[in-house]
């Protein structure tokens, strides 16, 4: 059972670091509280919806910012949606980037928006990677016969 112990420790350390580094905030913990035996894949399902939704939004943002005449209200609407969904799953850095992005939309600052989009993509793919690692660790723990530690 040593392997389970090791994996569990890895999981706890990784989860803690994600929180300390601002990738995931308390809202993620709230989601975990909603997962139980009757809904064992709840967090994974919500996060998958988030991934699909986010990639669609990032494409929409890229398209909107490439227009001859940029409709900043439309851009802002996409960012607002992204801010909402990232907030709902606790993706704090993504959410904060959205806040900054909205300021540039308000100023109708195209360069600022384009820069924000790049940074937003960067933050999104970072947190996506982290979450996939987290889920992988959970699967490994369960496959090794252990239970996933509860954080917080």
């Amino acid at each position: 059972m040593e392997i389970v112990g090791q994996l569990q420790k890895q999981f706890v350390d990784f989860s803690t670091s994600l929180n300390h580094e601002g990738f995931l905030d308390e809202q993620y913990l709230q989601l975990q509280k909603l997962q139980d035996e009757s809904n064992p894949d709840f967090v994974c399902e919500v996060v998958s919806l988030f991934f699909d939704d986010s990639e669609k939004l990032l494409n929409n943002l890229a398209t909107a910012l490439q227009q001859q005449v940029v409709d900043f209200k439309q851009v802002d609407a996409h960012v607002h949606q992204f801010k909402g969904s990232s907030s709902s799953i606790g993706a704090q850095r993504v959410k904060n980037m959205c806040v900054a992005f909205r300021n540039f939309c308000e100023e109708k600052n195209l360069d600022g928006c384009l820069r924000c989009l790049q940074q937003l993509k960067h933050e999104y793919f970072l947190v996506k990677n982290k979450l996939e690692t987290l889920f992988r660790l959970e699967r490994q723990i369960v496959e090794a016969g252990g239970t996933v530690p509860v954080i917080g």
């Binding site: 919500v46 919806l49 939704d53 609407a77 909402g84 969904s85 709902s88």
Partner: protein
């Protein structure tokens, strides 16, 4: 069509089944609300779909329910097409539906918006992301029959007072005027909103 009907409607009271209509354009938020409420819930993606479901959009109710029974409507404020506020007005303007409590959710803490919704008859205004504690209060409210003002009431205060008190019972003998609804709104012990208002 983004209508999800989640079965199994037993609430913690045992005998009663509650049906909640949730309205939100975000599929992520619909999924979270569904889980938070953990009771019989129908989730739709827009105000117009909600009105269709409720049977007041001029067309026949599209989902084949013989007897519509909705105990609570919880709706997002910012939605394309029809805002939660517009949906609220339509519901409160309908003799058939105006008694159903409506709760508004928003990610933006805008006092004028909160006031407007409460004055229009919204039961409560929740800040997103909605949390378990918010939903537990809603569920208690519904278990008490949904019309008991005590649960969402608080001692009447002026707008200047700080709002750190826990729920106290409201004076049920006095009908609530629009002004007192607003005053109550500012001191509702919704943890996030109280915190946010305090920092204004």
């Amino acid at each position: 069509m983004a209508v999800e009907d989640i079965g199994s409607g037993c609430s913690s009271s045992g005998d009663q089944e509650f049906h909640v209509l949730a309205v939100d354009d975000s599929i992520i938020d619909r999924k979270v609300i569904e889980r938070l409420l953990k009771i019989s819930l129908t989730a739709v993606e827009s105000g117009s779909r909600a009105l269709q479901y409720l049977g007041i959009d001029g067309e026949r109710s599209s989902l084949g329910f013989d007897e519509l029974k909705v105990n609570l409507i919880i709706t997002d404020y910012s939605m394309p097409g029809m805002t939660g506020y517009e949906l609220l007005k339509k519901i409160k303007g309908s003799t058939k539906l105006r008694k159903i409590p409506v709760v508004i959710m928003s990610s933006e803490n805008i006092l004028a918006r909160i006031d407007r919704c409460l004055e229009e008859g919204a039961e409560d205004f929740l800040m997103k992301p909605v949390q378990l504690s918010d939903v537990e209060r809603l569920r208690d409210f519904m278990l008490r029959g949904g019309e008991d003002r005590e649960v969402v009431g608080c001692k009447r205060k002026t707008r200047d007072d700080s709002c750190s008190s826990s729920v106290l019972s409201c004076d049920r003998d006095h009908p609530l005027s629009p002004i007192s609804v607003s005053a109550m709104a500012h001191c509702k012990p919704i943890s996030k909103r109280s915190r946010l208002l305090a920092t204004d």
